[in-house]
């Protein structure tokens, strides 16, 4: 996936634009994290990539083909997304919801699905036991696995996630990110995920993009992006990186 000089502005006379001349490419099979302070344009970028917004300038291409030209079905077969906010308006069972992920592969609104694929995903994400339960009766951590399962049922090449761990407690945050890593390796997925927690970005991503004021200001390995200098400049906070006994780097904030 190539993002080329992408810009987006709300309204007609934009000052400043929400996203300003952003270019990068997503390395295949890697987990890339997207970090940045509030209002830096992370969610705007996510909405552009998931075609909820149309860029005011620039292009997004997959294998040389502009995504704007893909049909909804063709796009859904390549790119799946997990939204930050996932409303459920009525009772629906886990297995019914996950079936929706196969919509892009069958005649419009047919009841046909590849049950083997769905069963495998439910097993991997430990959802089989809940498959006949209403999604609304599940805990936050279980619900987040359901949305991930829906996205995986699309059998995509790319998986985009908007702050998927925000509403989870520490245990489920860790479990969810571990799961993403496993899925990446199993299905060869290319993942882009927006993260708030910089330690998670350090621990789980292969690569990190830093957005600030609508511009891409850093694009490198997490250790080179999550630095005290960058945190000072873009998050306006003093910090230091501390090595743990296992050799991992973590961000230490001042008292």
């Amino acid at each position: 996936m190539e993002i080329d000089h992408l810009s987006y502005a709300y309204g007609k006379n934009p000052l400043p634009p929400q996203l300003n001349d952003v270019s990068f490419s997503l390395a295949p099979g890697k987990l890339t994290s997207l970090i940045g302070p509030n209002g830096s344009g992370k969610s705007t970028l996510f909405k552009l990539l998931t075609r909820q917004l149309t860029p005011t300038a620039g292009t997004i291409t997959i294998g040389g083909q502009p995504v704007a030209q893909l049909s909804a079905r063709a796009y859904a077969q390549k790119v799946a997304a997990v939204q930050q906010h996932n409303p459920v308006y009525d009772d629906i069972t886990v297995q019914e919801l996950i079936r929706f992920g196969q919509s892009a592969y069958h005649a419009p609104f047919s009841e046909q699905v590849d049950q083997a694929v769905l069963d495998e995903i439910m097993t991997l994400l430990k959802l089989t036991a809940f498959k006949k339960q209403s999604v609304r009766t599940l805990s936050g951590g279980q619900q987040q696995r359901v949305w991930l399962a829906l996205a995986l049922a699309q059998q995509p090449d790319y998986l985009l996630l908007d702050e998927p761990t925000t509403y989870l407690d520490l245990h489920f945050q860790y479990q969810f990110l571990q799961l993403l890593k496993t899925m990446k390796e199993k299905y060869g997925l290319t993942i882009l995920l927006i993260l708030h927690d910089l330690n998670q970005a350090l621990a789980f991503s292969d690569r990190t993009l830093l957005l600030a004021q609508g511009r891409l200001v850093a694009d490198d390995t997490p250790k080179k992006v999550v630095t005290p200098a960058n945190l000072k400049t873009y998050f306006e906070i003093k910090s230091e990186l501390v090595a743990t006994s296992s050799g991992q780097q973590i961000v230490q904030l001042p008292n």
Binding site: A80, V88, D91
Partner: protein
């Protein structure tokens, strides 16, 4: 749940058969079931035969089709607008259709299909207004609908003599010709609704997520709303505005067979037919030789039912 669902179907079917039998025999000209059956299969009571065939039968057919169509229309509105009390009679859709019928009478000669065409256009315009005006908040949708409803009823009142604000169309005045149009158009709409019932399930999750799984979302919503408006307006064209049935029956249906619209729509078809036939027949026999309009009885029963739903479940579906 499946087992209970099966039981519920059988129970409603049995009640439906009993209700049809009751509706045939009951009324100002009351006979036993046996006598009625004898008359129907070739008895000698010509006057009673004529009553059965020209008055009771069309009325029964009209009540069955109308009850089914309004209930299914209501269920589709609730699914698509994601609002548990979205009912065409509350949202102004029925009133818009009713007003359009009156206005069409001024400009076009009264023909069998004038009412139908005017009602569908009126219902459609009301829906476009409602969807165009509504905010993000589910309460705003209902309040705007209530305001539209009051406005349409008010405009109609400007044109008709005082004391005759109720619809000119009703079960009491329906003819065989009107019943046939209602039955054909209604059943067609119901068949389409059953075909697209799985689509209503998609709308249980958010638009942003739906858009990324490869569905033509705006098109899907328009189809569901179009069928809902069509069903509602068709009924309004021939039997007038019937309040609340579009909320009560879908709610009872979800309670009986669960929240999957592939189950809710067929079940609401049967239950809606049953409820309206019972209400209309009850209104017919309770004050013989006079009768109480089904719309009046539905308002009396439906008001408290709506309050119960709102106090127990809130405005989102299944909350």
């Amino acid at each position: 749940m499946k087992k209970n669902g099966m039981l519920a179907y059988l129970l409603v079917l049995a009640c439906l058969i009993i209700a049809i039998g009751w509706a045939f025999t009951a009324g100002a000209n009351q006979h036993s079931l046996a006598a009625t059956w004898q008359t129907l299969i070739g008895g000698h009571d010509r006057a009673y035969f004529r009553t059965l065939m020209t008055i009771r039968l069309p009325r029964i057919v009209a009540a069955l089709v109308s009850g089914a169509a309004l209930s299914v229309g209501g269920a589709l509105f609730q699914a698509t607008l994601r609002n548990s009390i979205a009912d065409p009679s509350i949202l102004g859709i029925s009133a818009g259709a009713d007003l359009a019928i009156l206005l069409a009478g001024f400009v076009a000669p009264h023909m069998l299909l004038t009412n139908f065409v005017a009602a569908v256009i009126g219902g459609g315009v009301s829906l476009v207004l409602l969807v165009g005006l509504r905010g993000q908040n589910p309460y705003q949708l209902i309040l705007i609908g209530v305001a539209l409803n009051a406005m349409f009823v008010g405009i109609k009142a400007l044109f008709v003599a005082p004391g005759t604000v109720l619809s000119a169309q009703s079960f009491a005045t329906i003819t065989w010709a009107q019943t046939l149009v209602l039955a054909i158009c209604g059943v067609l709409g119901l068949l389409v609704a059953m075909m697209i019932a799985p689509w209503a399930n998609y709308l249980k999750i958010g638009d942003a997520q739906l858009a990324t799984i490869g569905l033509p979302l705006p098109w899907l919503k328009r189809c569901l709303l179009l069928v809902a408006v069509y069903l509602t307006s068709t009924v309004t064209a021939y039997v007038g505005v019937l309040p609340f049935i579009g909320i009560i029956v879908p709610h009872l249906s979800r309670w009986c067979v669960g929240h999957d619209y592939r189950e809710v729509i067929p079940f609401a078809t049967m239950l809606g037919a049953l409820v309206l036939l019972v209400i209309d027949t009850f209104g017919r026999v309770i004050t013989v030789p006079n009768e109480i309009a089904a719309a009046t009885l539905l308002a009396v029963v439906g008001g408290p039912a709506l309050i119960l739903i709102l106090s127990r479940k809130g405005i989102y579906n299944g909350d």
